[in-house]
Assembly symmetry: C2
Homo-oligomer: 453 residues x 2
C-alpha cells in the first residue's frame, strides 16, 4: 500500500517536467510548476538531480519560495538556499508563519536572519524569539503564537461582533480560546457552537474545559500521540503557570508522523531522514562509510567465531557450504520478532509487566518453527550430502539458533531502550551479530562434537 502513495500523480508530473526540461522549453516548465502546491513543488525538487533542480527552483513563483523551503529536507534546503541571494531569501521567508519561520531560521545565513528580524514588527519579533527559546522537537517549537482569545464573562453576540471587526482568523482556527485576565487558559469554544447557539447565550455556557492543554516543553512525539489518540484538530499550548502561549494544528502533526516513519525506515539502514536522494557523492560516501565500518566490525566478530573451527571445516568442507544457512535463518527469524518489538515499544505496549509473557510466547513460536524448518533442512541436506549425522547437526543447530534469535529479538530492543538508545536504529545490527555468532557457534560446535568424534 505504502509504495503507491504520491506515486501516480507525482511520477507523471516528474516525467512531463523532465521532458520539458530536456527540450529546453522553460515556459511549459514554469506553468507546470506553478500549478503545484508548495509541498508538491518541494517533492518535485527533491526528485531532481542538482543541475535540473537549480533550473526549476529559479522558475518557482517567488511567492511560494518560503513555503517550498519549509517543505523540503535539510540537505535539499541547503542546496536551494545556496542558489538564492540575501534579498530573495528575506523576501521569501518574511511572510511565513512564526512556527514555519522558526523551523527555517537555523538554516539561514546570519545576515539574512538580521534582515528578517529588522523587517518584522516588535510583536512578531518577540514571538519568534519566544518560539526559538524552546528546544527543537518540543511543543514550543511547533506552536503558532497567533491565537484568538475571548473572555468568559461575555455573550455569543459580543464575540460574533468582535470577530466581524477582527476580520480573518488564523488558518485552521476551529476553536477560540477562553482566557482569564492574566491570560491563563480556561477552555475553548468551538466555532460550530458560535454558529449554532443563540446570540444571547453566555460564553461561559459554551466553554469546553475537557481538553487538556499541552505543556510547552512536551516532546513532539507526545504531541503527535495526543493528537492521534484524541482526534484533535488543534490544541492550546500553555506554560507552567497555565498561561496560554499558542496553538498547535494537526497539519504540523501530520508532518511529525511522516518524519517519524521516515526516520525509522531510513535510520534502520544507518541513514538520516534528511538525506538528499541526489546528495553529492563525497558527502554520501562519508555518511555511509561510518555505518559500513560498524558493520565490518561486527562481521569480523562473527568471522572470528568461524576461525575457531578451521580444523573442523578442513575435515568437512560441507560445513562451510551450509553454515551461512543457519546464521542467515536466525537473522530472518530474529528480525521478525524485532519488528514486532519495535512497534510495541513505540506504542508503549511492551514493558516490564509483560515482557516475560512475550518472551515465552516467542520462544514457543521459535521452537515450533525451528523443529519444522530444522526437519525440512535436515531432509534437504541429507538428499544433498547423504550424511544422516550432518542432517542431525544442521537441524539441531537451526532450532537452537531460532530460539536464540527469538530471545535476542525480544531482549535486544528492550535493553537498547533502557540504555536510552533507539531500538529501531541500532536493533538490527546487534541482532544479526547475535544470530550470526550463535548460528556459527551452534552449527560448527555441534559438528565438532558429533561429527569429529
Amino acid at each position: 500500500m505504502a509504495e503507491t502513495i504520491r506515486h501516480d500523480k507525482t511520477a507523471r508530473q516528474l516525467r512531463l517536467l523532465s521532458d520539458a526540461l530536456d527540450s529546453g522549453r522553460l515556459g511549459p516548465v514554469r506553468r507546470l510548476v506553478n500549478t503545484l502546491s508548495p509541498a508538491e513543488i518541494g517533492n518535485l525538487l527533491e526528485s531532481l538531480p542538482p543541475a535540473k533542480r537549480s533550473v526549476v527552483w529559479g522558475l518557482v513563483d517567488p511567492e511560494d519560495d518560503g513555503e517550498v523551503l519549509v517543505h523540503v529536507g535539510e540537505d535539499v534546503r541547503e542546496s536551494l538556499i545556496a542558489d538564492m541571494d540575501p534579498d530573495e531569501l528575506v523576501a521569501a521567508v518574511e511572510d511565513l508563519d512564526i512556527d514555519d519561520l522558526a523551523d527555517l531560521v537555523e538554516d539561514l545565513p546570519d545576515t539574512v536572519i538580521d534582515e528578517i528580524l529588522k523587517s518584522m514588527d516588535r510583536e512578531n519579533r518577540e514571538r519568534l524569539e519566544q518560539v526559538l527559546s524552546y528546544d527543537e522537537d518540543t511543543a514550543g517549537r511547533l506552536m503558532n503564537p497567533d491565537v484568538v482569545t475571548v473572555r468568559a464573562d461575555t455573550t455569543v453576540d459580543v464575540v460574533l461582533r468582535y470577530l466581524r471587526l477582527r476580520g480573518e482568523l488564523p488558518e485552521h482556527t476551529d476553536h477560540l480560546y477562553v482566557v482569564s485576565r492574566r491570560h491563563q487558559y480556561l477552555g475553548r469554544i468551538a466555532l460550530q457552537s458560535l454558529l449554532t447557539r443563540d446570540a444571547s447565550t453566555p460564553i461561559n455556557q459554551l466553554v469546553d474545559d475537557e481538553q487538556p492543554a499541552i505543556g510547552v516543553e512536551e516532546s513532539a512525539d507526545e504531541v503527535a500521540r495526543m493528537f492521534s489518540d484524541h482526534d484533535w484538530i488543534s490544541a492550546p499550548v500553555v506554560d507552567d503557570n497555565n498561561v496560554l502561549l499558542g496553538r498547535i494544528t494537526i497539519d504540523d502533526v501530520v508532518d511529525i508522523i511522516r518524519y517519524q516513519a521516515e526516520h525509522q525506515a531510513l535510520g534502520a539502514a544507518g541513514l538520516d531522514e534528511e538525506e538528499d536522494l541526489f546528495s553529492p557523492v563525497p558527502r554520501a560516501f562519508r555518511r555511509r562509510l561510518l555505518w559500513l565500518s560498524i558493520n565490518l566490525g561486527t562481521a569480523f566478530l562473527a568471522s572470528s567465531v568461524v576461525g575457531r573451527f578451521e580444523g573442523t571445516i578442513e575435515k568437512i568442507v560441507a560445513l562451510a557450504v551450509l553454515m551461512p544457512i543457519v546464521a542467515g535463518m536466525g537473522g530472518n527469524a530474529g528480525t521478525q520478532v524485532l519488528a514486532l518489538m519495535v512497534r510495541g515499544l513505540a506504542l508503549g505496549q511492551v514493558g516490564a509487566s509483560n515482557v516475560r509473557t512475550l518472551l515465552w510466547k516467542e520462544l514457543r513460536v521459535a521452537l515450533m518453527n525451528g523443529l519444522s524448518l530444522g526437519l525440512l533442512l535436515a531432509v534437504v541436506v541429507f538428499v544433498w550430502f547423504r550424511d544422516p549425522m550432518l542432517s542431525l547437526v544442521i537441524g539441531s543447530a537451526l532450532t537452537i539458533n531460532l530460539c536464540f534469535a527469538a530471545t535476542a529479538g525480544v531482549l535486544v530492543p528492550l535493553g537498547l531502550k533502557r540504555m536510552g538508545f533507539d531500538p529501531a536504529l541500532a536493533g538490527g545490527v546487534i541482532l544479526t551479530t547475535v544470530t550470526d555468532v550463535m548460528g556459527f557457534l551452534a552449527f560448527l560446535g555441534l559438528a565438532t562434537l558429533i561429527l569429529l568424534r
Copy 2:
C-alpha cells in the same frame, strides 16, 4: 525519535494497570481504564496478554466499546468481539459514525449485522450500504456521508439562521459545502468566513471553489497524499458526475499515514500490520513459517554457490572464515540504497527520468566505499593470515560486491514496482539474495583464479 512516542505515558499506565490486575482489585482498574480515550484503551488492550485483556475489556464503559473496537488491529478486534454477546455488540456499534461502522462491519457476525441494519433508520441504512459498496482503501470507504450543504443563492444571514435551527454540526466540520439543485459540488464556505463577514454578504461571494473534490474511487494513499500536500482539514468526496457524496476528515487520514508506516516496517519482515503482539502461538507459527521458508529457499541458493567452490575451500580454509564478511557487507550497503529508493518511490521521486543519474551516483559512492573498506579489510586480513594475495582477493571481492549491491539496491525496487509488487515488502529478500550470491561468487571465484594458480 519514533521509539519514544506514546512510551512514557502509556507504559506508566500499563504498569499501574498491571499491578492493579495482579493484586485482583478491579475497582482501581475500572477507574483507570475509564479515564482514557477509546484509542488509548485500544492501545492498552493490545499490550495485554489474552487473559488480562479479557478482564480489562469487561471493565470498559459499554459506551466506549464501539470506539475501542474501531481503534484496535484486526487480530485483537477478533478476540474482543469473541468476548461479547450479540446484544452487547449491537449496543456497542449502533451509535458509531457511518464510516467507522463500515470499517467494523466485516468483522462482525452476520446475526449482529442484521440486528444493526434493523435498528437503523432508512436514511442511515442506505448511507451504510452506499459506503460499503466502495472498495476498501478508497475514498468511498473513508468518507462520512453526514455533511452540511447550503445553496449559493442566499446570504450569510440566512445560513446563520439555518445553522441555529439545525443545531449541532457533524464533528470536525470546518466548511459547509455549496451544492447545486442536483446536489453537485460547487465549492465550500469556511465557518470562519461566516463568522467574520457581514450578515448581508451573499453566499456566492464567499464560496471557495479552489480546492478540488476527491473522486469517490481515489485510493486511500492518494487521499493521504492530497491532505498532507495541501494541509487540508477536510475535503468533499464526489462521484463521476460531481455529485457530493460525503466528506473525509483529517483524523482518518492520520490513521492511514500511521498504518502505512506500520505496514512498511512490519511488511519488510514478512509480517502483517494487523498482527497481535500476543497472537496465539499456533497462528503466529503458521504466519511466520511461510516467510521463513521463502528465506530458506534463498539461503539454499546462496549456499549452492558456495558448494561450487568446495575444492577451493578444502585447500584454503581461511576462505570459509572470511566469506561471510564479503557477503554480509554487500547486504548492508545494498540495504542503504534500497531504503533510499523505497522512500523515493513512495514519494514518486524516482522514475525513468532520473534512474540513470541515480544509479551512476550510487555506483560512484559504492566504488569509493568499496575501495576504502576493501583496503581496510585487506590490511586486517593480512595481519590475521599473513597472505598478501588473500588480502588482494578479499579487498577486490568486497569492492565488486558493493558495486553489485548498489546496482541491485537501485534496480530491484524499481523492477518490483514495475511488476506491481511492493518494493518495501519484497525488496530486502531479493536484495540480500543478490548480495549473498555475488559476494560468495566474487570472493571464492577470485580466490580460485588467483590463489590456486
